[in-house]
């Protein structure tokens, strides 16, 4: 999967915006949006929010979890826990990136938030890598990780699957070799 595909899926998440126009309900294939009343917040899909923002037709409203204290706590929780902790949104990374890219003036303390989210991301990726390492070294056949987000999985998917495939091949070759050597009688 391409990261842009993951972002595409993430854009279906709902975020709150404050439009500066008034419009009735819009009936789209994916669902209904609206009605829009100027100055009043309403939830819309992220893709629509970004589009409206680019056309200067709305203002973002920061999601509840996009707050310094909340993120600091989350980061602490993630650091303390051995396993993965549930994230405020299954697409937190994408939402943060898009909102902060287009709506820096709407989100208070954007820089700090960006840093905090990046820190959380780094923590989780590091955990993921180390857990893969442990898995491979232990030679187990199953592993289960909870609360991973799609974006994080996507970073390792390609490499991990290929690597595991190779390893499997090598294992089977070596085992064949040993059996062969066993069977060979000189």
């Amino acid at each position: 999967m391409d990261p842009s595909e993951v972002e595409f899926l993430a854009e279906r998440e709902l975020v709150k915006v404050i439009p500066n126009f008034t419009h009735d309900k819009i009936y789209l294939i994916s669902g209904d949006v609206g009605p829009f009343s100027a100055g009043l917040p309403l939830p819309v899909p992220l893709w629509l929010a970004v589009n409206l923002k680019q056309r200067q037709k709305c203002r973002f409203v920061a999601p509840d979890w996009m707050d310094i204290d909340v993120l600091k706590e989350k980061k602490q929780e993630e650091a303390d826990s051995r396993f993965f902790t549930p994230m405020p949104s299954p697409h937190y990374m994408e939402i943060t990136q898009l909102l902060l890219q287009w709506g820096t003036d709407d989100i208070p303390k954007a820089d700090e938030i960006r840093t905090l989210v990046k820190d959380i991301w780094d923590l989780r990726i590091a955990k993921l890598r180390s857990s893969i390492d442990v898995f491979v070294k232990s030679g187990e056949s199953h592993a289960k990780l909870n609360y991973l987000t799609l974006m994080e999985i996507n970073t390792v998917r390609l490499f991990l699957t290929k690597a595991l495939n190779h390893m499997h091949q090598l294992k089977s070759v070596t085992s064949r070799d040993t059996t062969n050597s066993n069977s060979q009688a000189f």
Partner: protein, 1051 residues
Amino acid sequence: MKSLKLAHNDGHTDVCYDSSGSFILTCGSDGKVCIWEGKDDTDTSSVNLGDKIFAIAFQGGRFFAATEENTIRIHTFPDGVSDGMVTRFTAPCRHFVVSDDGSMLVAGADDFKIKVISMEENECICLYSEHQAPILSVSIDPTKEFIASSSCDGTVKVWHVIDGTTEKTLNLLSKCSDPGQAKSLCRMCWSTDGEFLLIPVGNEIQVYLNSSWEIVKKLSHPNITDTINVMIMCPDGKHIAVGCSNGDIGIFELQSGKLIDKHSHPKHLPITSLAWNPNSWSELAFCDNVGQLGFLELVMADKKEQAPKVTNGTSIFDDADDDALMTASGHVAPRDDIDKYLEDDDNSIDIGSIKRSLNLDNEDENSVAASRDGDDNKIAPAPVFTLPPDLFKPTPPQPPFQPGSTPEHLSSRFMMWNNVGIIRQYVSEEENSIDIEFHDTTTHHALHIDNKSEYVLADLSTQAVLLASKEEDDTCSKLFCMHFGSWDTHKEWFYTMPMGEEIKAITATDTWVAVATELRNIRIFSIGGLQRQVFSIPGNVVALASHGNQLVVVYHKGMGLPGDQHLGVSVICVHGRSRKMLINGDSLPLSPKSKLSWIGFSEEGSVFYMDVDGVVRMLNRQFAYTWSPVANTKQHVKGKSDHYWLVGVSERLQQIRCVPCKGSRFPATLPRPALAVLPFQLPLCEPESEKSQYEESYQRSYLFAKSLSDYGMDSEDVNKQYRESLIKLFAFAAKASRDFRALEVCDMMEDQSLLHLAATYATRLKRIQLAERVSEIMQRRQEEEEENEDDGDERNIHFSQSLRSKGNTVNSDEENDNVNMTSEYDESTTPDVKRILNGPMLKTHTEKENHKVQEKTTPRYNPFKISRSDSSEKRSIKGTQVFDKIEKVTPKSSGIIAPLPVSIKKSTKKPSSGQAKLSMFNTKTEKLSSKTNEDRAVNAKSQHSNSQETSEGPVFKKKISAFSLWFEEVKPELQEEQPDLSLDDVSQLATERFRNLPKEEREVWVQKAKSSSECGNVKKRKLSENDTDPSQETKAPQHATAKLAKFAKCD
């Protein structure tokens, strides 16, 4: 001794009383000054000064603190706001005293210097630097002549205030280099007359005579074993309290030199400060060196009254044990309180103690006991000089304000936030500008204008921005309007108010603006700038709001009850065709002791307002124009000092739009406030109970449904909501066996379908009586409806009716009613109006040809009419009458059975008991004329056989039902079969046969009937349910027969 309170961190702690004796101030090494409200206070307020505080004193409403940063700072009491600095040294000041009258402050610091500062001039009038080591303590002579100072160089020096010349040096103490190492703080006291100087040396007090500086007495006691650290003179001048390094507090009587009382610190920590309550000489506060504050209740503090107590316990005067002392002294706590004395002495800057030490105690005493010397700095005696409690203080009237704005003194504020946009004002020394932003950018783009004319009031509508300035010294109040919605080139206009008439409040709509002025005038201008109207209001204006054609003015009606505002409100229709007053000067109801905080209109146009307590009320047009509370924003608030700042209300969405503010009543401009939406919640009792929730939901949705429909807006959702609530309420009541209540709920239902649902539900629950009663209500309603409908339908049905009515037997009652209705009926107005317009005059209108026909058929036959009197009689009759009628009627099978297309919607309510059903059914039938009865029965049958609508055949001409069609076809056969049967029996047989037909066949006939019948303008009374109650079937044949017969007869 009560348990000690931890006031500060470890270290030297100081305590003092305020002038009134009701507050205790302590300071410590944590840099805080804690203010205790009396000795029992647990919740102190504290002022953070930052650095360690070594000494504290109170004088004249302010307190002084000697801090680690080498200064003595002044702070106001009780706020603790910094009020300046007295002086500074090059080293921390360890001790200072303020003279009783507050004119002089003497401070000694670690840099060996002592400064005498005159408080009035704020100048150092004397600097004494004779000491060769850090100063331990200072003391002012009550006569203000001398100052005694002790220092680490082991000397106590007495010197003149004026010139700083040393009078006497006494080498009494041991030498040390640092106050922290000193064995004793050596706080000295002067006697109140200035005669004696008391110096604690070791574990005794040495009394020196003023002039000769010789020891005249030594006060000591075996119980006081350790070095006396601090000493304080009681305000009465007769006692002195000493605090020791081992935690002992002793009280000596000066005259006798005897130890009167002794207490010990529970932990035997050294006492670092003592303070005597200037108000009550039995209370002594002390502090130890770990930051704790304690209190001592002493026996002998009061002069005479205490004397007996003192003599009681002679042991007090003896060198008795502490316990003996305790018991004798009665309410002296069984702990060592003497230490408190000692503490109080030094570190507590109780004015009393200071005065004592300065020998001003006499004055203090006197002033406490009697009137003050008129010295402002003296402590006000608490009991004597308070205002009489019942002095009437008038409630200050609320100043005028713009709803939706933040206070004017802020440098960046909201001038207006409503549902059109936001106006902000930024004021600073250099600039004064206004920012206008619209919610909907299609209204207008954002504006930024310079505010040279210093406008402070603003309002915003979709067509214009209105600004107004206050009156300055020479400039008049100005009104400025930016009419951006104007289609010509001039987009603004302004007016200058006459001198002396300041603008107090403004409001703007799309077509007009209004301005309220100081002279109690309301000036109305058109949006284009024409002056339209000036009128006066009976009081000072508080706020204005407007919407559409309506203006609401809130003003002061008079002085309210103490704490309350007395506001009046007028709602006037100032624009449009009719100018009228909807509410004229009624008092605006507010919560007790509350003020108005917002008033305005909802988006749809109802008046809403909110008071300071957060209760939102609206003008309830449905209920006699009362002001009903619809929400309480305080319920949604998390913190106690959080408030909601209202910006708008929407009835359609049933929400209140506001901004949550933490810790204040209004939001700051930055960060951009987030809008929150609160739902309405009527304040019914027991809001958590299910029943109350239904009631609340019903009331609320009913209120808004009616309100919206008043405005002509679609209120489908809300309608649905209130109807649902009604049904739920009914179900709830019925399930709880509260049938009476359930019936009351039915009374509230306006809709027949709802009643029908209710009846069905009741029957399902086997509540027969309830079901019956509900059905009665239904019928009653139906009658009323029919009457109303008749009024409306008269004209419609007139033509064809006239034909029919010729041959119809009509009841006399009907006649009368018909006549009445005739008169009304020609009016081309709605039934409501018809009723209103009924009268003799109307009869003249009935001049059409129809009328002739009508007149012919004087009793115009109204098949839908339910003649009341008749029905009332008939209703009482139960089933038997039907049968009577059946006999009377001659059987006749009519060729054309044209049933009246009356859908017996109501009749489809099927009570489980046949009897009930019969009665209901009968009452139905009996209400109508015979013909209609028949038709209805026939209809009932046909309806019964299939869905409801099909019974609606043509009104007047041919009313064909499935049965009739089928009967026609079958009749000849039947007659052949049973030639000897009367027609009556034949029809009976036929009906039975018809019933026994398979449903599909019946359907076929029904369809035929439908297609062949002509539909006239028939009121369709929709059946809400399809009933196939077999009991109806059983009854139907008889009825059908009867009806057929009657029909035949009529025909």
